[in-house]
């Protein structure tokens, strides 16, 4: 008998521990709680801003509570998907424009017009909003936007005998500048890289490479979202990537964060980044404010220096009427001059996506972004496809094949075409 009692006790304890996590969550009653998935809370520099957003928003809306859902940048989408799979959907995801098609395909993202007011949505630049469209409906709403901008180090330009107020405008000019810049050493005798273009195996590097293809007047996808790389601009861009590697100008296989690190430490003279990447530079070296300037994306081949639109955006989830109304209030609260003014001035240099915010003091007088400002009018829209991450990773593989793999550009493009067409069709 004793043995049976012991056994039942063990089984009961085990069952309790196994099934305790499976209890269903009670539906919210009365006050509304909004679940906001936000990786930025785990990144240095951004946490105080978002914590203040919560305090200010809850003070203005006492019936709404913000509950953060956090995970590192590379894991937040999986976190959101896993939660949704368990019946616990977040209300909004703060993320990159490239996350939108995947989340639409997953059935998680809702059309923004289903949740936000007509007047609020109509205040956004139509071309910007078009960048978020899937089958004619926008599925994300940007907080701010930016093309890939060219950041350069004015001090290194001066040391190399170059005019720090005259950044290169074309790839040919850049190569002649790079020849001088690559002769420099930093204070510790380390090599100074002349030009940084990310090629590491992460989707954002693929987006950056797409921007480079646009610089050369090329395209990666056609308007229908089909692979369209048989163009001179595409070939020229990857020939340039190879040339930069052969000349030793570009740090091999680097992520954007590696480039930011090298730039902050004075070991990289120029590099392409999203405008908000400067916050990463500044968090490593606060003195970077004094030597950093921005320039327009370079013109190459027959291109006019067009670039790819990048945005930090809110991707909205439909969780019923009460939470939709609260979500609309939250989005309108955040994407406002009042909330974003200091953020865009002190943390994240970028361009507002709303017409009513165009004359914001923090944007108009932003010294870091001044040089790149004309490029804002030359952004090009990339067609949205559900497998955009696959395509971006294949672009990284192509860049690595022609650089560290030392393979022929034309042959590598042929291989890329075969692989990428299979990967994006799956």
């Amino acid at each position: 008998m004793k043995k049976v009692v012991v056994f039942l006790l063990v089984l009961a304890m085990l069952s309790a521990s196994v099934f305790a996590a499976g209890k269903t969550e009670a539906a919210p009653a009365g006050p509304v709680t909004l679940k906001v998935a936000n990786y930025a809370l785990l990144e240095s520099g951004y946490e105080p801003f978002w914590k203040q957003v919560k305090v200010d928003f809850e003070a203005a809306n006492p019936d709404i509570t913000i509950e953060w859902v956090t995970a590192p940048y590379g894991e937040i989408v999986n976190q959101v998907v896993n939660m949704a799979g368990g019946g616990n959907k977040v209300d909004v995801i703060f993320g990159e424009i490239d996350w939108v098609p995947g989340l639409v395909d997953a059935g998680l993202a809702a059309p923004v017009r289903d949740i936000l007011s007509q007047a609020f949505v109509d205040d956004f630049y139509p071309d910007v909003l078009k960048s978020f469209e899937v089958e004619g409906k926008p599925y994300g709403i940007p907080l701010y936007v930016s093309p890939y901008v060219l950041y350069y180090n004015k001090n290194l330009f001066t040391q190399a005998g170059l005019d720090p107020n005259k950044p290169p405008k074309t790839y040919d000019e850049m190569l002649s500048y790079a020849q001088k810049l690559s002769q420099l050493k930093d204070a510790n005798g380390n090599k100074v890289y002349a030009f940084g273009q990310t090629t590491a195996s992460v989707p954002v590097s693929g987006a950056s490479l797409t921007a480079m293809v646009f610089n050369f007047g090329g395209q990666v996808l056609d308007a229908q979202g089909k692979l369209a790389v048989d163009n001179q601009g595409f070939k020229d861009a990857f020939t340039m990537v190879q040339k930069l590697d052969q000349l030793g100008y570009n740090p091999q296989n680097a992520k954007l964060k590696d480039l930011r690190n090298l730039f902050a430490l004075g070991q990289l003279a120029m590099y392409y980044d999203q405008s908000w990447g400067f916050n990463g530079v500044k968090s490593i070296n606060p003195d970077a404010v004094n030597f950093t300037a921005s320039a327009e994306p370079l013109k190459g081949g027959n291109g006019v220096g067009a670039s790819l639109l990048q945005a930090h955006c809110f991707i909205l989830v439909d969780n019923g009427a009460a939470r939709k109304a609260a979500l609309s209030k939250f989005v309108e609260f955040v994407i406002s001059e009042q909330t974003l003014s200091s953020y865009l001035r002190d943390l994240t240099p970028a361009y507002p996506a709303k017409k009513s915010m165009a004359t914001m003091e923090s944007v108009v007088n932003n010294g870091i972004l001044k040089g790149a400002s004309p490029a804002a009018g030359r952004v090009q829209v990339q067609s949205f496809i559900p497998r955009i991450s696959n395509l971006n990773l294949e672009l990284c593989s192509l860049a690595q094949a022609v650089t560290v793999g030392k393979q022929d550009v034309a042959a590598s493009i042929e291989k890329f075409k075969n692989t990428a067409s299979v990967k994006i069709s799956q």
Partner: protein, 303 residues
């Protein structure tokens, strides 16, 4: 009396079975069910949309497996995985055996060395990966500095993880650093169980050091060797955190193993069906490798 003994035996059997039930339940719930579920999904069109909507996957006529055959990604990932397992396990065994033989002698500071040696093993794998990533860092890494120093400045751009020819070896070095301590410890435990009287008898019979090692030590050590190599094969076959943290599968897919490929398919491309197809084939390969390894070892035992 006999009937009472029989009753008692049956009661003991029942009780031991009941005690096994929680373990059986856990095994079925957390190992068997997920494996079967994964195999089923590998034959279905199953994506994130299915998880969120709760809709079951749809049979897709082996499309996930046919998709793997359309590019060389799966073949290359299999080659990388087998090369990695073979290289790391062989080196790991040889280095661990040497280390354990040294530690089994009466050298000064052996106890301290044993404690220090265990440090890499207790470091979490992701932290190990970060340590080695920084050591191999191409601009300011210690290894780059060391190579620069040793070659008197002739090799300036030594970047192990950026070169498709050396990246797999770079991750292998990190794996060896992390795994050698455990295997050494297991082999050391085995060595300490080799009966000294047999060794002494062999010595009296005129056997030299090498002869005693081959004819006495190794046969006594073989059960430990078998288990520790099995563990090493499995550990490296499913190695993921080192690759994902150190190289992400690059450069130019040179370190894309089956683990990396399945993760990419399932959680980057959000295609759980093809991710499951890779996992299924990967699991089959691992089962076959361990099966043949065990058979070879059994034959050797009999010999």
């Amino acid at each position: 009396m006999k009937s009472r003994t029989l009753k008692r035996t049956r009661a003991d059997f029942l009780f031991s079975f009941l005690l096994d039930v929680p373990a059986l339940l856990m095994t079925v719930l957390f190992i068997i069910v997920p494996i079967v579920d994964s195999v089923i999904k590998s034959f279905q069109d199953y994506g994130v949309r299915n998880i969120i909507s709760g809709k079951p996957g749809v049979w897709n006529d082996f499309a996930n497996y046919l998709y793997l055959a359309k590019t060389d990604a799966f073949t290359m990932a299999s080659i990388h995985t087998f090369s990695f397992v073979l290289g790391v396990v062989l080196l790991q065994f040889m280095l661990s055996l040497v280390l354990s033989l040294i530690l089994n002698t009466e050298i000064k500071g052996a106890r301290l060395l044993r404690s220090v040696m265990m440090t890499p093993w207790v470091v979490p794998t992701v932290i190990s990966a970060l340590i080695w990533m920084w050591l191999f860092q191409p601009q300011y890494g210690f290894i780059k500095y060391l190579v620069d120093l040793v070659t008197f400045g002739n090799v300036k751009d030594f970047a192990v993880l950026n070169n498709p020819q050396t990246a797999l070896a770079g991750v292998g070095i990190a794996a060896l650093w992390k795994q050698i301590p455990l295997m050494s410890l297991l082999l050391l435990a085995g060595l300490q169980n080799v009966p000294q009287e047999i060794n002494e008898a062999a010595m009296i019979d005129g056997a030299g050091k090498f002869r005693r090692f081959v004819s006495v030590t190794l046969p006594y050590l073989s059960p430990v060797i078998k288990v520790s190599i099995s563990m090493a094969i499995i550990e490296n076959f499913k190695q993921f955190p080192l690759f994902w943290t150190m190289t992400g599968g690059g450069p130019n897919n040179a370190t894309t193993t089956l683990a990396v490929l399945s993760y990419r398919e399932a959680f980057v491309s959000m295609n759980l069906g093809s991710g499951a197809a890779i996992t299924t084939l990967w699991m089959l390969m691992m089962v076959l490798v361990v099966f043949f390894y065990n058979r070879i070892f059994r034959v050797q035992d009999l010999g």
